[in-house]
Amino acid sequence: MLEARGIFFEYNGNKVLAAVRASVEKGGVVSIVGPNGAGKTTLLKCISGILKPTLGTVHLDGRDALGMPRREIAKQLAYMPQSMFFRFPGTVFDTILSGRRPYFAWRPSLKDLEKVETIIEEMELSELSMRDMDQLSSGQVQKVLLARTMIQDTRYLLLDEPNSGLDLRHQMELLETVAALAKGKGIGVMMAMHDLNLAARFSDRIILLHHGKIFSAGVPAEIVTPAKIRDVYGVESIVTRDNGYLNVQVLCCSGEQELDKPGRLPNRLSASGRKN
């Protein structure tokens, strides 16, 4: 089990996270949802050790992860950033191969190369394998990054909005791959998500973050409710269950929430709500 407890994080005196607790079992999928600036990305970075939490503990199968060497963490826990820039891009093959970096020093072993080849084949990236990363579409980039994360052979995956910028088909493809990894290989997945419908559909549990604190956590049906959506996102909505899936339909901005939180921009929220 990957478990973070009592995570506090401050940046330039601003409290970004306060007393956050998050955990995922092997084979489980946990989604972290919440409005912009709620602290989703920061939480994932704290758990993966990229940011050092001000206070709190992270345990990897019972071992203290924050005290482990970077390379050791990289063998247990893979982190896929939301986006990357390619100033000096390498080829797709080399980029995926770099996911094996925790296991080899300079020259990748034959086994490493075979793993890369297999995953390229599985994810249908063969045609692109010798292209440079900057020549790919954003969907292809996300696929390559997921492949690189998978090839790290870790027991836990931390994904930061893996479906951002993708069209419907690619979103489904990618999330189905993630779900298959969890169920098929028993990997624990924790991912930050914007889309409540998809989060509800692919997750065993959902953590709803609001202003750096856990507003609520539980199975999707407990979290995705009109009341909680109103309190956290400031929109009125109805939640229905069609074909066995939860479906959020956003109606309008809530008036009182707008007055209550002058900093929030109702336009943007309703826009992102409509996207769902």
Binding site: F85, R87, P89, R101, S129
Partner: protein
């Protein structure tokens, strides 16, 4: 499935082979350019005499080949190699294609250090003084650059900006020396500013070789870390790299290399910027091959430029910095027009 996997494997192998082939070709070109450089010169000693002089002492020709042409060519190779490697490191570590020893002020600082040593220790036999001064100041400027960036959360723009500020500071300090110095000092600085391989002898080469080549294996060993760093700090950290530590030691190593290049030959800029890009355009950004490739390309350009500079208008010498630009700029522009890869 196995056929698909094999196809991927084959194209990967082909890619690696292509890169190795490129490096081997570069070595051959470099050797050829060196051989040409060895056979031409103001004294009109031709191929036959050169070959004879390689194996037995033929008096004056022997002296010219072994004491003048050889050191000159070897130093050109070393300096070109060093500037190419240092440029590559600065670029990847700062994630900035405009980075190079000179655009970052490390070159100017090394220059200032060398000039300071020349002025305060006097001219003549002060090999270690000049090299030490150059290294000290290049390291100092790199340290200031990293420190500023560290305080402001190491963004590559901050590093570049502070580097440019340092470049202006050290250039001005050198100019101040030139303005207030005695005539002797002024002419010494002039020599240094022109950039020249004429003063180089075997002791200089020995010291420069240590400063330029010693850090190279360490840098090469971290090639994968540089590849990861090119995709950003977070991505690198996620794969077990410590970006800050990598950045600090590799910038220090690149500063040492820069100092080695600049101490004995003066200002020979530009190669540090262009050689890495030429190599990137041809074989891509895999640092396992890019580091050596940039070095070899830098060496080839510098030897070619020096040979051209001392033969085109023989016996007059066109200063090396001028020829380097004449050879490098058109080639670079040509590649820019033809490139398929876009980085910036």
């Amino acid at each position: 499935m196995s056929t698909g996997v094999e196809a991927v494997f084959i194209s990967y192998e082909a890619d690696i082979k292509r890169k190795i082939f490129f490096l081997v070709s570069l070595c051959l070109v470099l050797l050829t350019v060196m051989a040409i450089g060895l056979c031409v010169g103001a004294s009109g000693i031709g191929l036959g005499t050169v070959l004879a002089s390689l194996f037995k002492d033929t008096g004056r020709s022997f002296g010219i080949i072994w004491m003048l042409r050889f050191p000159r060519i070897l130093m050109a190779v070393l300096v070109g190699f060093g500037l190419g490697v240092a440029g590559t490191i600065f670029q990847v570590v700062l994630c900035n294609p405009l980075a190079s020893p000179f655009t970052l002020g490390v070159g100017s600082a090394a220059g200032f250090g060398a000039v300071t040593a020349i002025i305060f220790l006097g001219t003549g036999s002060l090999l270690y003084g000049v090299a030490g001064g150059a290294f000290l100041f290049s390291l100092l400027s790199a340290a200031v650059m990293i420190l500023i960036a560290k305080l402001k959360k190491a963004s590559s723009e901050t590093m570049i900006l502070s580097g440019i500020a340092l470049m202006f500071l050290f250039s001005s300090l050198t100019s101040l020396f030139q303005y207030t110095g005695t005539m002797q000092q002024v002419y010494e600085i002039v020599f240094w500013f022109f950039g020249s391989l004429s003063r180089v002898g075997w002791p200089e080469i020995g010291l420069a070789a240590v400063m330029i080549l010693a850090p190279f294996p360490l840098l090469l060993r971290s090639a994968w870390d540089f590849n990861l760093l090119a995709y950003g700090d977070e991505s690198a950290m996620a794969l077990g790299v410590n970006p800050d530590r990598l950045r600090i030691w590799s910038v220090a190593a690149a500063s040492l290399i820069t100092a080695g290049c600049i101490s004995f030959t003066g200002v020979i800029g530009f190669i540090g910027l262009v050689a890495p890009h030429i190599t990137r355009m041809i074989i891509g950004n895999d640092h396992r091959f890019l580091l050596a490739g940039s070095g070899l390309v830098g060496g080839i350009i510098l030897v070619a430029a020096d040979t051209a500079g001392r033969t085109l208008w023989t016996p007059l010498v066109i200063p090396i910095g001028i020829v380097t630009s004449f050879i490098g700029v058109p080639f670079f522009v040509f590649l820019l027009m033809k490139r398929t890869r876009e980085y910036w």
